[in-house]
Each structure stands twice: as structure tokens, then as C-alpha cells.
Subunit: 340 residues, 2 copies
């Protein structure tokens, strides 16, 4: 690979001059030299070694994000928003997929630290696991101590700034809609039991239940993995245990779609016989049949806000800033009045 020194040699100038020209430094450089240098750069197809630059420069500029899985539309949307703002600010973003493996999340924090990122954004729900939380917090604190900024999206138990979607309210809206439509016995297809997203959303469902003088019996809650397959399995389990269910509340759209698929395979009409409501409003929610009634979270916006938090230097020293974003019911066709 051609180096700065090669360019300097070819142009007959010092490497400092080349560096200044390439980085558009404020120091003035004679036009003649500039042209010679640019020509040399072109001729050698010179590209500065990013690692050498990062080593030599003091300021860090890239942003690291840890998600469960980019190909999950939920995260894809968050990242879309996040990328937009990052790019607008000339920041590169490195994305890491933990595939819901806590250990891998820990490893990725190290990796991002090793890469000297300016900020680490933890997207995706946290776990109710004190040992993990403690480890993660200690790693994050070390990182913060060296000037690193951290932002979490949708978890409350970590140090640093946070963007918090109102999962509780979303859950409330979801259940409230079901009660309003006259459903009294509905199953819940929840996510992994130890994830905070699951418990928050469930808490919302429970609040709505209480307001209607009811409760969510444990036997009507099945825990899945937030993916389509587990949604199908959960729907099947629910139906087998209690064939008279009039509705299902899925705690994310992927599982809702799985439920829809299972219902279809059993020839159960949605929403005429059983209503289904999802959560997240992923792009394909409106393409399944029937189009999914769901709770919308401003995903792209959440990603964008996370970057903004990461970029703004903290005002005080220890104030941690929290941005809350709302949840909204999107009525489509998969939920209707209770019929049986």
C-alpha cells in the first residue's frame, strides 16, 4: 500500500505538507504544491491508513451500536434512524449483532472499546439478570471513565443516557383495545421472560386488566422468543389449552405473524373468530392478511435520538438524560369485536 511518505516523495514535499493538504488543515499551502500533491495522490491511488490516523489523532469519531440482530425489522428500523443522524454528523457507525447472547454483548463492549469508538449505543432490551447487569455496568463505567459516552435504548438498569420507549403504555393500549372490543379471555404471547421489554409490556397489559376488574392468569401467558416460529408455537399452545380464547396479544409483530400463520393453518378466521394484536408496527405489519392491528413505536426516531444524545456532551457531570418516546395504537384489520 502506498503511504503518506510515498506521496510526499513523489510530490517532492514533506509528509507534513501532504497531511495538511489531505486533511484540509487551516494552514495555508501554496497552490503549486497542492496540485503536485493531489496529482501524486491520484497517481498512487493513495488512501490514508485509517488506523494510523486514529492512532495519531486524539479525537474519536465513530459510534458503536450493539443490537440483537440487524435483520430483525425492529432493529433495522432503529438503525436506519441512527445511521441517518450519524452520517449527517460525519460519524461512521459500527454495528454488532449479539443474537441475544449476553456474553456476546459484553464481548462487543470490549471490542468497541478496543476500536476507540466515541460512543456505545446499546439497543435492544435488557435482561433481568443482576449478574449480567452488574458486569455490563462495570464495563460501561470503565468506558465512561475514559471519556466514552453510552446510550441505551429501551433498558433502564444501565448507567448512561437512555431513550426509553413507553412499553408499559403500549401494553396498556393493547389490552385496553382488546377489553373495549369485548374480549374477556385472551392469551398473551410474551417474549423471553427475563427481558425487560417483555416485563414492561406485560405490566401495561396488567394495568389495563386491573382497570377492567380482571387479571391475566399465568396459564394464559406463554413465553416465546420474539420470533415467528415461537409465535406459532405459543399460539398453538394457547389454543390447545383453551380453545375458547377470543383473542391473542402478541408482544411483538413477528410473533403476531406467527400466530396469524397458525390460526390460518387451523382454519380459524381472524378477526371473526379470534383477534390478534401485535406490537412494534414493523413495516410488513400492514402486508400480512389480515393487516395487523398493532402498537407503533417510533423506532427510527428512537435511533436518531440515541445518536443525538451520544453526540451532545453531557451538560452536568452525572446527570443522565432520559428521553421518553410514546407508543400508539394502530388499528388495522386483525382485531375485531369478541364473537364467542
Amino acid at each position: 500500500m502506498a503511504t503518506l511518505a510515498d506521496v510526499a516523495r513523489l510530490a517532492g514535499v514533506s509528509s507534513a505538507t501532504v497531511s495538511r493538504i489531505i486533511n484540509g488543515s487551516p494552514k495555508p499551502v501554496a497552490d503549486a504544491l497542492r496540485e503536485r500533491v493531489l496529482a501524486a495522490v491520484e497517481e498512487l491511488q493513495y488512501v490514508p491508513n485509517a488506523h494510523a490516523q486514529l492512532l495519531a489523532r486524539s479525537h474519536r469519531s465513530t459510534i458503536g451500536v450493539i443490537v440483537h440482530d440487524v435483520s430483525d425489522p425492529y432493529f433495522a428500523e432503529i438503525i436506519r434512524g441512527l445511521q441517518r443522524v450519524a452520517t449527517e454528523n460525519g460519524r461512521l457507525v459500527i454495528t454488532c449483532n449479539s443474537y441475544r447472547n449476553p456474553d456476546r454483548e459484553l464481548e462487543y463492549v470490549e471490542l468497541l472499546r478496543a476500536h476507540q469508538v466515541a460512543a456505545i449505543i446499546l439497543a435492544g432490551s435488557g435482561y433481568h439478570d443482576d449478574a449480567f447487569t452488574a458486569k455490563m455496568n462495570s464495563k460501561l463505567r470503565v468506558y465512561q471513565a475514559t471519556g466514552g459516552r453510552t446510550v441505551v435504548i429501551g433498558r433502564h438498569d444501565h448507567v448512561g443516557d437512555a431513550v426509553l420507549p413507553d412499553n408499559e403504555k403500549g401494553g396498556y393500549l393493547l389490552a385496553a383495545e382488546l377489553y373495549t372490543l369485548g374480549h374477556r379471555r385472551f392469551g398473551v404471547i410474551a417474549g423471553p421472560e427475563q427481558m425487560t421489554t417483555t416485563t414492561d409490556r406485560l405490566a401495561g397489559l396488567r394495568r389495563a386488566a386491573r382497570e377492567h376488574g380482571r387479571r391475566l392468569p399465568a396459564r394464559r401467558i406463554v413465553y416465546g422468543d420474539f420470533d415467528r416460529t415461537s409465535g406459532m408455537a405459543a399460539a398453538a399452545a394457547l389454543l390447545d389449552a383453551e380453545p375458547k380464547l377470543t383473542a391473542m396479544a402478541a408482544l411483538n409483530d413477528s410473533m403476531a405473524i406467527g400466530a396469524l400463520a397458525l390460526l390460518r393453518s387451523r382454519g380459524i378466521a381472524v378477526p371473526d373468530e379470534v383477534s390478534v394484536i401485535g406490537f412494534d408496527d414493523m413495516p410488513i405489519a400492514s402486508d400480512v392478511t389480515p393487516a395487523l392491528t398493532t402498537i407503533r413505536l417510533p423506532l427510527a426516531d428512537m435511533g436518531a435520538r440515541a445518536v443525538i444524545l451520544a453526540l451532545q456532551p453531557a451538560e452536568g457531570d452525572d446527570v443522565l438524560r432520559i428521553v421518553r418516546v410514546g407508543a400508539e395504537l394502530i388499528r388495522r384489520e386483525s382485531a375485531g369485536p369478541a364473537r364467542r
Copy 2:
């Protein structure tokens, strides 16, 4: 941030020793020292500076991938396969989204070169644009000249190894199925006109047409953007121009889903009145209603093979290796016999 030197100081050894212990160098080190060093690493929460390592080490280990958009399920699948193999081999992968902007692709090649990646994988279709191809090839060649490896997925006009899905055959299968079902006048919802994926798939359709003694009139081909919205628009245009169409061939699933949505909005039954066939077999293809008949490409496998090519050193010097992967018709419910 703690540095190697800090650790060395705390442990009372030289930095060389620390480096050797951390990297598990073959050089033997006394156990007592090893423990002291490891303790110091733990105490300081030391993480080696990745950039300094890359600068100092000679061998490059990360892999760069350029795709159009990770959140597009087509690429998400490719990346999944690619990641798997890369991780198995201890390689990190950096993903760049060009959002179908050729200039951005060029920029990303520079960026990846700047980051000293061991290989660049160009996923996603190429363009029929000689100026662009020439520029890209020159950049790739420069990169190769310095020992970089390049692999392209699904484009033929670039230098380097390649993984080529049989788009032509897929197109052929698609059209053959339509003809077999008795469709004689069907619309084609194609991708961007200058993309090789589009032209390859179209070529397959044309071959099938010829074999059935027919042709694809230009007025029945509408070019979209490979996304849902343009699929809807294209379906509308097709239908408006020729209401008697009995089927539509979409050149990817996203557009097929868009077409399905449009047909539904117009109250046209699929497949009873109009059949629809997609291409790619994205995961959601089986969740839309009716489930999409489509052409399956082994996407994850393609990603995996690309990494394998990138990792295997070229045998000869100039032999460029080409791996071809097949296409397969997946019959589901969106295509049926022609009825009108």
C-alpha cells in the same frame, strides 16, 4: 484509557512480556509473571487499542462487505451466512450500505481500503454502466495489487472471484411456471433497468417465452425499484394499461408483496383472478396472504461461499474463481391456473 505500558508498569514487567501474554505468543513466559500481568489487566480493565494493533501487525484480518441495504431481507440473509463463516474464522466483518448509490459504493471501497480490510465483498447487483464499472474495477485492481482479495456476489463484470446466483435460470423457472399454468399475457414488474439482476432475470423470462413461442412485449414490463412501494405502483400501471392480465411476475419478493397489496386494495382475488410470482424467497414470503409462490435463491449460502472464497488464497495468480449457485421454484398459493 489504560495502555500496554500501564499494565507493564503495574505488573513490573516490560511491555513486550505483556504483549506476549495477551496474544498467547508461542514464546514461553514464567507462570508467576503471567499471573501478575493478568491481574494487572483485570485491575485496569485493559483492552488493547485495536488501531495500534492493526498498525503494528502485518496481517489484516477483518472483512468488508458492501450491500445495498442491510435491512432488505435479501441482503440480511446473505449477511447472516457471511457472518457465520467469518466468525467461525475469527474474522470481523464491517458492513456498508450503499443504498443503491454507485458513488457511495466507490467511496466505501476506499473506506474499506483505508481500514486495511483483508477482503472486500461486493454483494448486490451490479449496474450496466461502463463508466462506473471501469472506475470500480480500477479501484479494485489497486486494492488487489496490494494483496487485498475481492469477491463479488451476483455481478459478472468485476475483477476478482465471484459467487453467481443463477438469476437467468430463476427467471426461466418463473416464466415457465406461468406458461405451464396457462398464462399467456402476464405483466412483469422488473427492478431498476440498469441493474444486472434485472436484466439477467428478464433474460430467463424471455428464454421461457421463446420456448413457448411467445415474447415479452415491452409494454408489459414495468421497471420498479425492488421495493414494496414501487411494486404497488407497477402493478397499478400494469393493470391500468391492460386490465385483462392474468398474472404478474415480480422480479423480487418485496415488489411481489406490493403487487399483492395493490390487488387486494382493488378487490382482485389472488390467485383466482390474477396470479403473482415473486423472486428471492425472503422469509416473509410465506406469511403474506396468499403465501407467495417464488424463486428461491440460497442467500445465506451465497454469503458463506463468498467468505470462503475470500479466505482461501487464490491458487494460481490470475485464475478467478466462480461459484455458481442454483435457483429453485417454490410453489405456494399465489399462483394458480389462468382463469380469464
